[in-house]
């Protein structure tokens, strides 16, 4: 049997994150928690976050899914702690655009995420790569909505 090169999909970096997901840990304080689902395959991801002054101080990611979604969640957990909500939003947007074929801004630090670029060629798998990011985005939105009710001005 011949095999096409799958190496642009399952890069070593991805397999490494898959086998040792960085975000699978406990947080000492949980400020918000959100669950995401991929209805196509029943995969789930649970994200727990700890915030300090508008920054994501730490994040735990528990994925039950394929190599792509687990690796993507692990990269998220490695990259985002210490970043402001605004930076997180920018990276999420840039990653989403990368999955739809756009180039990343040169000056953006995206950690290991570029290893996932090959996923864009596998249409049915893009959702797998995005699901932890969509879930974190939903978590942040839900939290902001709650906070707006309490205090009208939000730290960026």
């Amino acid at each position: 049997m011949k095999q096409v090169k799958l190496d642009d999909l399952y890069r070593d970096t991805i397999l490494d994150h898959y086998k040792n997901p960085r975000g699978r840990k406990e947080l000492d304080r949980i400020d918000a928690e959100h669950k995401g689902y991929n209805p196509l395959c029943g995969d789930q991801v649970t994200i727990k976050a700890k915030f300090t002054n508008g920054y994501l101080e730490d994040v735990a990611v528990d994925s039950q899914g394929c190599a792509i979604s687990v690796a993507s969640g692990s990269m998220l957990a490695e990259l985002l702690p210490g970043k402001s909500l605004k930076e997180i939003q920018q990276i999420t947007e840039a990653f989403r655009e990368m999955m739809h074929g756009k180039k990343l801004p040169d000056d953006m630090d995206i950690g290991d995420l570029d290893a996932l670029e090959g996923v864009k060629k596998y249409h049915s798998r893009i959702k797998c790569a995005l699901i932890p990011w969509i879930t974190l985005n939903d978590l942040i939105k839900a939290r902001q909505e709650k906070e707006t009710l309490v205090s009208p001005s939000l730290p960026e």
Partner: protein
Amino acid sequence: MTTKTDGVIQMPAETGKQVLNVDIIRNDFPILNRKIHGNRIVYLDSAATTQKPACVINALSFFYRTSNANIHRGAYTLSEESSSAYENLREKIARFIGGVDQRGIVFTRNTTESLNLVARSWSKANIKAGDEIILTEMEHHSNLVPWIMIAQETGAVLKHIPVTEDGYLDMDIFYKLLSERTKVVSVTMVSNVLGTINPVSEIIKAAHSYNAVTVLDGAQGVPHTKVDAKELDCDFLAFSAHKMLGPTGIGVLYGKPELLEKMEPVLTGGGMIQEVTLNSATWAEIPWKFEAGTPNYADVIAFSSAIDYLEKLSMDAIRIHEKELTAYTLERLETFPDLTVYGPRDIEHRAGVVAFYDKLIHPHDLSTILDSYGIAIRAGHHCAQPLMRRYNIPANVRASFYIYNDKADVDALIEGLKKAREYFQYETS
């Protein structure tokens, strides 16, 4: 020794057995010549939809080239031709499923629409709060969701026959669920995940003893084995052409004429009326009263070709062929550690569907890797989320067979599984 007729090898008379000659059959399927990533196609997703033989593809294009005209509406040659071809298939289908009354054959878009038609139309007039509808835990969403809606609208109660660990319906519980309150029993003939061939004849008899109406989801039954709706005595039977070599967009609902006659149409408009005034309408006879609007007559005519092809091979030979392939697949998969195969082990109770869960590789990853070798299998919940929940897995991988598959396809799958594990750097044994 053996004699060949297209696609079938007649075994020596003393065995009386017909077997399929897959090499000849494969030649009839143009798509199987395609290469996927440089490999021959190993198509193992026929439970989702089957490939089409050249005769079906040609029938469709021949019809559009030579006979196309809307049916039932014109007294001219083209329209007469398409009308009679359309009605001829009704007769052929009635014969194919056991010689039922052809007035009971309604053309729909697919199994899903057929089941919705029963749920909507029959239930509306016959189900009230407190009545019970018995389904099973292994149903496809298309035999769950329509009933969920009916239950919500009417206050009827849904009951489900549980599935045992080894993939059978728990019949003891079925008998306990049955009661005077049971109005409908709707079950699949064959599970599209477990491959289980359900004891539908027994279920129908038991349901009828409580005067319940019986509905069979034949999507995975009718394409793979001889089905005799008359002998089964089911009240309704639903299936899809696209899962039995036919085109997409054609489904069948068989219903006993005496039931169909009392049912109201769900869709209304042209083609299904007797007389219309500005403020009133009366319905055409069955089955036409359920076929509002221009039907998909061109595909119906192509479906006719598919039935001819299946009958030439014989449904019995198809069943024998799939049994052998399935037994072989189960045997090969059993040698893999860390891999769970679902459904009955007894091949007499199992159709050509083998779903499994590789504990080392997620179903999605497995299907992407297998695809790189040209192997098409399905990963997911197969529109049976409650069943997935029953087995505590989010998804699994399913290989399903038809007349054009052979042992080489199974070998390719097994080889692909080994490669996938190597790729993920797991030990294979």
